[in-house]
Every structure is written in C-alpha cells, then in structure tokens.
C-alpha cells in the first residue's frame, strides 16, 4: 500500500513530534512510529532541560555555550552549539506556553536546578540551569508536544516499524518502507521530505538506561543506504545507573546535593574534579567510578559505589563546602525536599532496590546512556553525506539519532532535551519549506522489495542460532570491550567477535512464522541493526587513537588536538567493509583548552 505525504516523520519521541508539529503547519505530514508516541523514550528523561533563563540566579546563554563546548571536549561544532543554547531559552518558554507543567519558584517562574557541567563561568560554581517538572521532565515534554500534535490533527501511523529508506537513482530520498506491525503488511510511505528521529541505540550494551525499543533502527537503515555515520566512537556512559539493571538515577540527584561514596566511605569526586566535584561532566564521573573500583575501593571490593542522598550526608557536605542558596543563606535539604523533588527516583529505588533513598545509600554503576554520534546533519537538520557538507536532498534527521554535532565527544546533562526540540523544530520547518517547492522525487521501482527480502531471509532461516543468544553475547561484549575504558587489544578482540556474531546471525531461525504482530521477526531484524552499529562503533573507536570526552583509550590517554580535533565519518563500502574518514570541527568561539572541573 502506498501513502503519499509531503513530509514523513519517522519516530515520535520529542524530536519527531516537534518536527511533525512544525512541518504540519505548512505541509501534509505523517508520523510513523513503532511505538505509540507516548511510549517513546523521551518520556523517561528525568532531570531537566537546560536553558539559561536565569530565573534563580545570574545566567547567560553565553555561559551555556561555553559549558557545552567544554563538556564536548571541544569536539562540538561551535556554530551549532550557539544555536542550541540561544534557542533553548525561547524553546522552554514555548513549551510553557504549550502547557508544560514546569515546577515553579515561589514567585511563579519556572524552577531550575544545577546539573553536571553547567557552571557560572565567573565563579566556576554549578549554576541552576536545568528547568524541571519534578523528575519527570521528559514525560511532560513528550506528553505536551504530543498533545499539541493532537490539537493540530497530525496524522499518526502508530506501531508501524520503518525497515528501509527509499533512495532513488538521483540520490533523492523518496520516503520509507514500513511494516504495519498489526497486520504484518508492508506499506510504502512516499514523500518529498523524510525526517528521521528514531532515537538512540543503548541496547547495544548490557547495562543500559535505554528502553528495549532503542535498537538504532533509523541509524542503521541510513547507514545501509550509504549515509555515513559521524562520531560513532563517542557513546556516553551515565555514572549513576541502578546496579545490575542500569535504570537511570538522574544527575538531578546530585544536583540536589547527592554525593558519590566509595567502599571506604570516602567522597571521592573532589580528587577528580576539585571545583564542581560530584557535578563534573559524565565522562569524568564515570571514569572516576571505574578507577575507584579498579583500585579496590568499590563497595565491599565489588564493582560498584554508592550514591548517597540521605539528608544528613548531603547537609554535612553542604556545610563543608559552604554551599549557599541564591539569597545567600546556607543551603540545606530535608527528607521532604527529596521526596518532593525526586518522587520517581524514590519510587524506582523502592521498587527495584527495596531501598529508601532517604534512609540508605544507593548502589550504582555506570550505564550506557546516550549516543553522541549518528546521522550527520547541518544546522538546518539536513542530512549531509560527506566531509564537504553535501546535502542529501529530501532527507532530514534530528534528535538522538542525528549528529549535528552539538554534543561533540560528551553531552552535558539536560542538553539532549534541548537538542531534540531545537533541531526537531528546525527539521520540521525546513522539511516543510523544502516540500513546498520541491518536485515529487521519483519513487524507486519495486520499492518494498529490499525490505520484503530482508524479512523473508529471517523468516525462512533454518539455521540453529538463537537470536536472544547472539544479542546477549553482543551486549556483554560491548560492555566489556567497548565501554568506558578502551584499548587496541580490547577493541580488536571485540571486532573479531562481532564479525563472528554477524556470521552466526546469518544462520538464525525463528519460531513465529505468522504475519500479525510478529515481534520475534522484528526483534531479529533489530538485532541485525544493532550488530551493524556495534561494528561501526568498534571500528570508529579503534581508529581514534586519542582520548577525548567519552572515548577513553588507555593506550592513548591524552587528547590529541593536532591529529584528532576532527569528527570521524564511517562509510559502508559496497563490499561490506567500513571506511573511516574525518571532517573538520567548526570552531570560532572558544579555542580548545585543557578540560578541568
């Protein structure tokens, strides 16, 4: 079946919905999502959205820009960061006008809290920049933007999974092929402009904060269609995931005063980041935790540490550090403050750890969290396919699946929500403008065939390999070898084993041969995507022989601005090999400097 729309948005997270909202104002727009929109992963974002409103203390977009660039370890494109931080302020007001229920200050303004890496550039102390709605900011953003889409009668195709990107011989994107999960039928979505907003791929790793659905479909589909992937070696591990499960405990916990404690009962972050301590940026904190564990200072000598947000602990360090409220009075917190500001966190801890954060410290370990890399785009959210910035006509990307790049080598907390909305909006606006003046691209002949063949290959497989087994092995492998600390030996081993796993993948079989709701088939297909992305990540990590941001090579522990102050691009060659290339970083505002917190 063929559907015709001016603009096709794939993905209904924050990025996709924002794009759809803006595109639908000027063009006939459809949103395709494999999940019901409100199930998208944006809904799990907890801590807040960063914008220099200055509601609680002095703050400026310029400071936000500097923090983001510094946080990125100078790999972010500075023009894009400028857009991000300047538009953030208006975006937060726009969300408020849409009805988002932000928490409020006593005088009725949007409340803000401190977050890792966000500082007052003068005093170097943490600044309150993260606008929040309790610890469910992402939930509120997702709901609010979805509500606006309902109000504007946006057309949704819920529970349709995109399997292929349609690229015609002229190199124009002409839409996508998707499977209607309910009927198992393939549908062609034929459009003038296609926007990918399919989110991240944390499911590559064993311990992750990411949902089951985050298998990187969009990124893999684009890659297979010849679009290079940018900066794939940079994958963020969030320091505080619940031990064993990876469920995230937001940085907001540390924003409210929580501290990290090692097996000797010591607050260890001051040794690694003397100024902002526990609120250093994520790569720094995650490495610090692993270094403590390696030195035998994990809890009970094991591989985890504590996150302690008990009021007595927090207040002890508030006194020690002389932390003040905006009005100059000494800052203190009470058990009620924690319950009120972090209700969901308290609930997670009670449900999954049987612990009350007010009474006990929480066992945590770093958890795979956020893809800095992805589909390369320019500041208009147009997908670019080479180092020269050549635009692929009709193709846009935004959100976590895209790489603008505003996060460089390490994203600051709260910046992703800004990113998905600011660049989601740009994608929607530009796609609608493009669709208004562009001709209909030629639809490739037999457009659905590649997708049909890919599914048939899985469905008809008769091998003995088990999808779940391969998936589990891949995830453990990525965790152990392509995690926070990397070396040539670990990465090479990972690459060899990944190739074995890919070979195994060609010999799988599945039990469900039906059409309706065949999620076994789709999970197998998703595993194919993940294996591709795992390989790209590993190759990119092997190639970058320096340490920068989230990418830490123990065999090259220093940042190397001479050779590596550039983005990487990974291309899929016709023979299935991956070719690495580079692309310059846009500087102009701040010269790279040593990064200390």
């Amino acid at each position: 079946m063929i559907h015709r729309f001016d603009v096709i948005v794939v993905g209904a997270g924050g990025a996709g919905l924002m794009a759809a909202l803006y595109a639908s104002r000027g063009a006939k727009t459809a949103v395709i999502s494999k999940l019901y929109p409100t199930r998208s992963h944006t809904g799990t974002a907890q801590g807040g959205i960063g914008a220099a409103l200055g509601n609680m203390e002095e703050d400026h977009p310029e400071w936000h820009i500097f923090d983001t660039i510094k946080g990125s370890d100078y790999l972010a494109d500075q023009d894009a960061v400028k857009i991000l931080c300047e538009e953030a302020v208006g975006m937060v007001y726009e969300l408020e006008h849409m009805g988002l229920p932000f928490d409020r200050t006593p005088d009725g303004r949007i409340a803000q809290r401190p977050f890792g890496g966000h500082t007052n550039n003068v005093t170097k102390q943490p600044v309150r920049r993260a606008c929040h709605a309790a610890d469910r900011t992402g939930h509120m953003i997702l709901q609010t933007v979805y509500q606006q889409c309902i109000k504007n009668n946006v057309t949704f195709f819920d529970e349709y999974q995109v399997l292929d990107l349609l690229v015609n011989d002229e190199g124009h994107v002409a839409g996508v092929t998707a499977i209607h999960i309910d009927s198992g039928e393939l549908h062609t979505f034929y459009g003038k402009a296609t926007i990918f907003a399919t989110g991240g791929f944390g499911r590559l790793w064993k311990i992750t904060s990411n949902a089951y659905a985050l298998t990187g479909d969009g990124v893999a589909v684009a890659f297979r269609r010849g679009i290079p992937l940018e900066d794939m070696e940079f994958y963020q591990f969030h320091p505080t995931g619940i031990l064993g499960l990876g469920i995230l405990l937001t940085e907001g916990v540390r924003g409210e005063g929580g501290v990290l404690i090692n097996g000797e009962g010591e607050r260890f972050m001051p040794r690694y980041a003397p100024t902002v301590k526990d609120l250093a940026s994520r790569d720094v904190v995650s490495r610090a935790i692993y270094l403590e564990v390696r030195a035998g200072r994990g809890i009970g000598g094991k591989d985890y540490v504590y996150l302690d947000v008990r009021p007595e602990t927090v207040n002890k360090y508030f006194v020690e550090d002389g932390v003040k409220n905006p009005d100059g009075t000494p800052r203190r917190i009470t058990a009620q403050d924690i319950r009120r500001k972090l209700p969901d966190i308290s609930d997670f801890c009670k449900t999954y750890l049987q612990l009350d954060p007010i009474k006990s410290p929480l066992p945590i370990q770093p958890t795979a969290h956020y893809a800095m890399g992805g589909i390369p785009t320019n500041n208009n959210a147009e997908v670019v396919i080479d180092a020269q910035g050549t635009v692929m006509p009709g193709f846009y990307a935004a959100g976590e699946c895209a790489c603008v790049s505003v996060h460089g080598a390490n994203r600051l907390g709260t910046n992703s929500l800004v990113d998905i909305l600011v660049f989601g909006r740009r994608a929607g606006q530009n796609a609608a403008i493009y669709a208004a003046q562009a001709d209909w691209p030629r639809l490739p002949a037999a457009a659905e065939e590649p997708a049909r063949a890919a599914l048939a290959a899985i469905r008809n497989g008769t091998g003995r390999e088990v999808v779940a087994q391969i998936r589990a092995e891949m995830r453990s492998l990525m965790m152990d070898n392509v995690g926070v600390f990397r070396t040539e030996a670990l990465l090479s081993e990972a690459l060899a084993r990944l190739r074995d796993l890919k070979e195994c993948f060609s010999r799988i079989s599945i039990m469900d041969k039906g059409k309706r709701w065949n999620t076994e088939l789709l999970e197998a297909w998703e595993l194919g995507c993940m294996l591709d992305l795992a390989e790209v990540t590993t190759v990119a990590a092997l190639t970058r022989t320096e340490s920068r941001g989230a990418h830490f090579r123990e065999d090259f522990p220093e940042r190397d601005d001479v050779n590596w102050l550039k983005h990487s691009l990974a291309y899929l060659e016709a023979d299935g090999q991956i070719r690495m290339d580079t692309k310059p970083v846009t500087l102009g505002l701040y010269e790279p400097a040593r990064r200390v917190y």
Binding site: L35, Y36, R39, G99, G108, M140, Y212, L245, D347
Partner: protein, 230 residues
C-alpha cells in the same frame, strides 16, 4: 528459584479459542515479571507476544493482568508475586495476539477529552506565571502514562465500553485544574455526558491498578463535584 509462568495465549491467525501456555523457568526473586516474559520469548517460545519498552514503569507499554490484577510487568518483582505467576491480557480491549490488546479504543477516548492546553490569550514573551500552589493542584494527574491499567480494571468499563474510563478523566482533570487553561467548560461538557464521569461507581479498582499511584477516584470525584457546583 523455580517459577511457573502461565500465560493466556491467543493467536487469531491459528487459534480458535484462547488457551494457557505453561512455562517453567529459573528466576531471581528480584527479577521483574517482564524479565521472565522476555526470557520465555528469547529462549523457550519465540511466538509469545507482548509489548514492552522502557522496563521501568515509565512508558506504559506492558500493562497486563498478573495474578488477577492489572499491573505493569516491569514493576512487579517475582518475590512479590509468588512461584506461580498467571498472566492474562487486559480485560475489555480486543485481544490482538497473546498479551497485546488493541489500544485504539483507549486512545480514542483519550483524544476525545481535548487533551491539550486551551488558551488563546497571547502569552507573555517569557513564561506565564503560576504559583507553586496552583501547580500542585493538578500535579497528581500529570503523572499518567496512559498505560490503560485503570480503565481496563474498571467493572463499569467492562460492563459497557462506551464509558470514557478513568484514564481519560484523569487526563481531563490535569487540564481542568490547571489555572492556565481556559477550556474547562468544553471538557466538562463532555465529561457530563451520560458516558462521562457518572459511569464511575467509585469501585477503586483503578486506584489499585494505577502504577503511578494516582489518586484516580479522587480526581474523578473532584470533576463530579465541580460539575455539581457549576
């Protein structure tokens, strides 16, 4: 520990009537029921079908009947449900396959209550002001994740699915009690119809089922009360 999982199976492509699938497996007391389902699907029977995504009670995908009550599979731990775990699809929505039910009727009701802020007054350049107390007024109902656990636990909804259901009312409450909203009259008109709030008979199954611990009956009661005083 060993657990037995009984799942109500039904695949309209080949089954005439639902049947029970039984699976024995090894589990940790702290495993989520969802982990068991994922394990069964991965290693025992790949045809088992259910929705899931976030795995920590935020996305609302995996509401189902667990041991006779509506629960999120990702928020129920094995140690709390015992060694025999009986799992059925939500009641009152058409079963698509196994534990997946057709959510469309549910979302249609959600959309019918005008679930978006209505306010045509030009906003200020910055944020509209709202006092923390006014914000608190509707905090409870902003937590809803549209999992449908409440609506499908309501005997009034089972009896007659024309009832809007608690979830839609919760969503309406979120806007009606937001002092920035101007659409309360339009929403109240919908809720006052025969299939609106009056079909709630204060049975509280919804409150017990809600994974977000929303005081649903109270929200419904506040809407009824408001209709009455108007």
């Amino acid at each position: 520990m060993k657990v037995k999982v009984k799942v109500r199976r039904f695949n309209p492509e080949k089954d005439h009537r639902p049947y029970w699938g039984e699976y024995q497996l090894e589990a940790q007391p702290t495993d989520r029921v969802l982990d068991l389902l994922v394990y069964i699907k991965g290693y025992i029977d790949g045809t088992l079908t259910f929705r899931r995504s976030c795995a920590h009670g935020i996305c609302g995908s995996d509401a189902m009947v667990i041991n006779g009550r509506n629960r999120l599979a990702c928020k129920e731990l094995v140690k709390d449900v015992g060694r025999t775990i009986v799992i059925e699809p939500l009641r009152g929505l058409p079963v698509i396959k196994d534990l997946a039910v057709d959510m469309e009727p549910f979302f249609r009701k959600y959309r019918s209550i005008l679930p978006f802020l209505i306010n045509d007054e030009p906003p200020p350049y910055t944020e509209r002001l709202q006092s923390p107390e006014a914000r608190e007024r509707f905090d409870d109902t902003t937590k809803c994740i549209l999992c449908a656990a409440c609506t499908t636990s309501c005997p009034s909804f089972w009896a007659n699915d024309s009832y809007l259901g608690p979830a839609a009312i919760v969503q309406a409450h979120r806007f009606i009690f937001d002092d920035r909203d101007r659409g309360a009259q339009a929403r109240l008109a919908i809720l006052a119809e025969a299939d609106g709030v009056w079909r709630c008979r204060t049975i509280y199954n919804c409150v017990d089922a809600c994974p977000r611990e929303i005081d649903i009956t109270r929200a419904i009661g506040e809407v009824k009360k408001l209709l009455l005083v108007e």
